[in-house]
Amino acid sequence: MTKYIYGIVLLFIMVGCSNSEEPSKQKAVEGNILPYPINQKKLDNGLNIAVVEYPSPGLAAFQIIVRVGARDEVEKGKTGFAHFFEHMMFRGTDNYSSEEYSATMKSIGAAANANTWLDRTVYHMTGNSKMLGKMFEIESDRFMNLNYSIHDFKTEAGAVKGEYTKNHASPYAMLGEKTVEVAFTQHTYGHTTMGYWDDVVDMPNQYEYSLEFFDRFYRPEYTTILVVGDVKVDEVYQLAQKYFGNWKKGDFKSDIPIEPVQTEMRYAHVEMAGFPPYMELNYKSPAFDESDMDVAALDIISTILFSERSDLYKKLVIDEQKVRFLSGGFFFTRDPYLYQISTSVVKEEDMQYVKEEIDKALELIKTQPVDEVLLSQTKSNLKYSAAMNMDSPSSIAGSLTFYIWLTGNPESLNNIYKSYDKVTPEDIIRAAKKYFVADHLTISTISSKKEGGIK
């Protein structure tokens, strides 16, 4: 058993960290899940810079994380705007037209893109680390000097509509839209990042609002620049100061409505014949907080109850073959969101049975202390899963980005894994009792029936 607990400290270092003489460079900290130090510096304007030196010769990942997403879409008729705005960020400045920006990106030879979700918008590229200066230059230009025409704005709205069209072919996307709408009555998590169709169609008319949006959120205090790869910490700091030092701080703060406590079971349903029957149990989950033992305990529960090793998986998927897949877990978000258990059922008529089997497993975890060996193995599983995935600049940057948009601090990655280590069987019982509550549940289904009908 000791093997599961010890020896994970310097887990996956490929090449030892060099003894650089850079004054600002951090040392690797024992016990961290990320075996490379995270160097951080805040510029005077509030912009945070995070750098991880990683031995990937000639390669670096460069990401800009803006802590704005669908969560900030508080005004009526503006759903989907954070995502739309992400598109507009590619529409050029006075210095670089959209075409020139594209040509420059091509010259960097990078894989680059952007994406938006509930709490954040991320602009990322991975490419030649020798081009780091150019990456900084071109990104600072659009973040500080974005300037697009009304026509470009209206034109881009068409592409967003195309994206909605492409996504909406999936019944899962339809169900997702309905689920959050039912589960949240006040909070902005009640609409998807894509936004409502009517709002998407109306986007061409929102030019003025787009200027306001940029002015509010594309500010240094909302933003972190993260660089991982074959770079030097001090060089990154210098480039950040040079290109982003003059970026003006803003003062806007979103007033996000608070979601009242849910007091009754809710339902979302998509009627679709000829599609695999599908069911989700969505419980309200806590906001991410690396020091909240409920958060760590719920994550451990997901692995215990729903991984391929779990009793439930063995029963429903392997032995009884009632379901095709089973998964469970919760989304780390800035405000309370959803703990989602999802399953594709072989026969529609078994849905209620499957729901009851999941209920039994949840009931058991609320009442019976988890076996210590299983708990220890689960912690080992979480650590090795994470460490096995951290073998390129993009994957390390991807992991850190997560925590940057959640808390503003990439060290939260190391901290949450320390919290996992401390989870006890009592923590698990407490968290399960607190969050797996029938009145906080939204049941979502896809089936050939008019209504879901699952209790």
């Binding site: 030879g109 592409a159 000829g274 392997i318």
Partner: protein
């Protein structure tokens, strides 16, 4: 080491050799200090060896091997064993190869090895596991592929049309009838016949001891020793003119379009680098700076993106960079036009478009084919040529960011008779001239003959079919909001596009449950 034929590649740490006593080709990618070991075991088989009437059996066999137990452990016991180490493994079958990938921490190398060995050498092929995997495959074929993503649907349906009558015709997952017919005995026999020590090769990366690898090589000799005969792959027939297959379905929000025609070139040809430059300029996957993207999405706002391909691209909807494990002898030139709007939808949204009969599909196809013709006519601009070449030389290195990906590309290199495709491609790109690129364009690009699949709404299918088959002028229907700000030259170009002649020979409409049946 004397008994080995060794080729040491320029790139440090890569070793390719064939073990003299086992004849098993092995690729080693040493990563000192790494605690992650990746083993890839590849069989030269793929869906092309599926016997007639049992389409899908290679993929089903490989899936069942990974989804079941071994002589020593049940599937549940394996799940228990590998849980603390977070090891993972999976199979991937394509047209001509099947690859099993195993990833595990070096700390658990000895504990994991019996699982790896058992899954490959003594898979249990139990009846319940068989029923489960077969049912999931049928579910994919009958429901998921038709209802989840119209883009993936059109891509797979295009292959069925393009490769009709060849071993490439059916999807790797199989056909409905094929999967229905397969029995457990068929699978057991297929395993003996096509997963053998005659068609296997090994790839390994990480900081493993030599003894680990020699044990693996030695153990794999225990696979069946049946001689594998791969089927002849006839050159796919060039379509006669442009043939359009429209798949109609209820409540499709747009028209998803895939076009293609066979090209006789792959990674083994040096000329591939030249064609790659032209293709990248015209339609690099998910890149905003390519020509079609600029014309169709950026300027005209018609959809989410438009790309071209000179080889199979796995899971293009989800991946920004190409995956390994899909090496193929037979390629086709493809244009992927992501869903464009349909008539009924445009009419509902914009009163000024009340008069239109169809959405944007006809115009988009005309625009894409015209761009190909223009490139062929004018050749590539010298400056664009240089920029695209430099872009690719940097970009291809991103394909192999992790040891697992690097190993995958090294194994694919072998398929094409190369040692290290990415390194060799870089050198080829460096030396490619503009003349070579233009020659490759003239040789491989054309718009006279191709197959086109369009998945669209049932309200759009008939009017679109009529418009295509009659070569009706198809003016671009902008909303006033977009039209008002467009440059005169864009509108002038639209005039040229709307009546651009297409060599359409045949247009048919089929229902969405027609493909992938037999």
């Amino acid at each position: 080491m004397k008994t080995f034929k060794i080729i040491i590649l320029l790139l440090a740490g890569i070793l390719v050799y064939t073990s003299a006593f086992s004849q098993i080709k092995t690729i080693e990618l040493k990563k000192e200090g790494s605690n992650k070991i990746v083993v890839k075991v590849r069989f030269n088989n793929g869906s092309v060896v599926d016997p007639k009437g049992l389409e899908g059996i290679t993929n089903l066999t490989a899936s069942l091997m990974m989804e079941g137990g071994t002589a020593d452990y049940t599937k549940s016991q394996i799940n228990d064993m590998i849980y603390p180490m977070a090891a993972y493994y999976y199979s991937s079958t394509d047209k001509e190869v099947t690859t099993f990938t195993f990833a595990f921490p070096k700390d658990y190398m000895d504990e994991f090895y019996p699982v790896l060995k058992g899954l490959l050498l003594t898979p249990t092929f139990s009846e319940p596991d068989f029923n489960r995997v077969k049912s999931n495959t049928l579910n994919y074929l009958t429901q998921v592929i038709r209802a989840s993503s119209d883009e993936e649907f059109s891509k797979k349906a295009l292959e069925e049309m393009l490769f009709a009558g060849t071993p490439y015709q059916h999807m790797v997952a199989g056909t409905e009838n094929g999967i229905e017919s397969i029995t457990l005995d068929d699978v057991k026999a297929h395993y003996k016949n096509y997963f053998t020590n005659n068609n296997v090769s090994i790839g390994i990366s990480g900081d493993y001891p030599e003894s680990f690898l020699s044990t693996l090589i030695n153990d794999l000799k225990e696979l069946s020793d049946k001689k594998v005969v791969l089927p002849e792959l006839p050159d796919p027939k060039m379509p006669d003119g442009i043939n359009v297959r429209i798949i109609e379905k209820e409540e499709a929000l747009g028209s998803a379009i895939f076009t293609g025609y066979p090209i006789n070139i792959n990674r083994s040809d040096d000329e591939f680098a030249a064609l790659m430059i032209a293709n990248s300029w015209m339609g690099e996957h998910r890149k905003s700076y390519s020509r079609l993207y600029q014309k169709i999405r950026e300027t005209r706002s018609m959809n989410y993106g438009d790309y071209t391909y000179i080889e199979w691209y796995e899971q293009g909807g989800g991946n920004q960079l190409p995956l390994s494990g899909v090496p193929r002898n037979n390629n086709y030139f493809a244009i992927w036009i992501r869903p464009v709007q349909i008539g009924i939808q445009l009419k509902e949204q914009y009163p000024e478009l009340g008069h239109i009969d169809i959405g944007h599909a006809h115009f988009a196809i005309r625009m894409a084919l015209r761009e190909i013709d223009l490139l062929k006519e004018n050749g590539m601009d010298p400056d664009e040529f240089e920029k695209t070449k430099q872009f690719l030389r940097s970009y291809i290195k991103l394909y192999i960011q992790t040891p697992e990906k690097e190993l995958g590309f090294l194994m694919d290199s072998q398929f094409y008779g190369r040692q290290n495709y990415i390194a060799e491609l870089d050198a080829l790109l460096e030396n490619t001239t503009l003349e070579q690129v233009n020659a490759a364009i003239r040789k491989y690009m054309q718009t006279e003959n191709m197959d086109i699949v369009i998945v669209t709404d049932d309200s759009e299918a008939k009017p679109l079919a009529k418009s295509l088959s009659k070569n009706t002028v198809s003016p671009m229907s902008y909303s006033n909001q977009v039209k008002d700000g467009l440059d005169a030259e864009v509108l002038a170009e639209d005039k040229n596009v709307e009546a651009y002649p297409l060599n359409i020979k045949n247009v048919e409409i089929i229902s969405s449950d027609a493909p992938f049946v037999k």
